[in-house]
């Protein structure tokens, strides 16, 4: 019972921080739900790197603490400092978690894909072909040379 009392007092002391965290969380998961809607901007669905969450997720995770801290700093609104702190606590844990999960997913996918054993490269003109020959037609052949000049 003493522990429950202590937890209750802890929550009431940090109510603003908890509200800041919950607000940030709802913004983040609201963005995840909105991702499947037709009006969602395609730029926000893209990723800067396969190891990073989508641009929209990054914005939704970083924006709430950044905006709240800007309001606190620029507007000298000390009353919402608790909200900003709570948003930072949620934001730091969330962004770390999301980047780690997306990195592990990307690594798992890279291992699961079969390695390319042979990647055909673009054929380049041999240095033995006269430089003034603008257009040449070639035909595949076997042996040392891969192509034979036909005209």
């Amino acid at each position: 019972m003493a522990i429950l009392k202590e937890i209750k007092s802890m929550i009431s002391d940090n109510k603003q921080q908890l509200l800041g965290g919950i607000a940030s969380s709802l913004i983040y998961y609201g963005n995840v739900i909105a991702r499947d809607q037709p009006w969602y901007p395609p730029e926000l669905k893209q990723q800067l790197d396969p190891h990073l969450p989508s641009n929209g997720d990054l914005v939704a995770a970083v924006a709430p603490p950044a905006v709240l801290y800007s309001i606190v700093k620029l507007g000298k609104k000390t009353k919402i400092r608790g909200l900003a702190d709570g948003a930072v606590y949620f934001g730091v844990g969330n962004i770390t978690s999301r980047i780690a999960v997306q990195t592990l997913y990307a690594e798992g996918k890279a291992i699961a894909l079969p390695a390319a054993r042979f990647i055909p490269s673009m054929a380049s003109m041999s240095k033995y072909v006269p430089s003034n020959s603008a257009m040449r037609t070639v035909a595949p052949t076997s042996g040392i040379s891969k192509y034979a000049i036909t005209s």
């Binding site: 709802l26 978690s97 990307a106």
Partner: protein
Amino acid sequence: MVEKNTLIGALVTGIADAALEGYYAYMDAQGKPLRGQFPYLLIPGAEFIPPLDDWIACAGVPALLYAMGKFMKKPALKSMAKGGAIYGISTLIGVTAMQASYQLQGRYTPPQARYTYIVR
């Protein structure tokens, strides 16, 4: 001002959450989904409630930090538990809202609603 220990607590809880979800995502990417296996378990009939792995990370880790702080008499650990609790409670509320929204829209069957934030 952001307290260092509280921030560390939120980070530790986030890492624990990432470890459990990251293993799921890694196996999912390899074509071996762990859906329905421990600790990725949902309550049948109430699939909007976050699965067990979220409860372990988001409620278990802050509770563990708090218990350690209480019995070892270290206020720093209690402060870390506070950060973990802010992250954990916020995440659990957010995940519940997300899964309830999916369930109400009927867009996904609930197990597929897990980890929709992963860009596949």
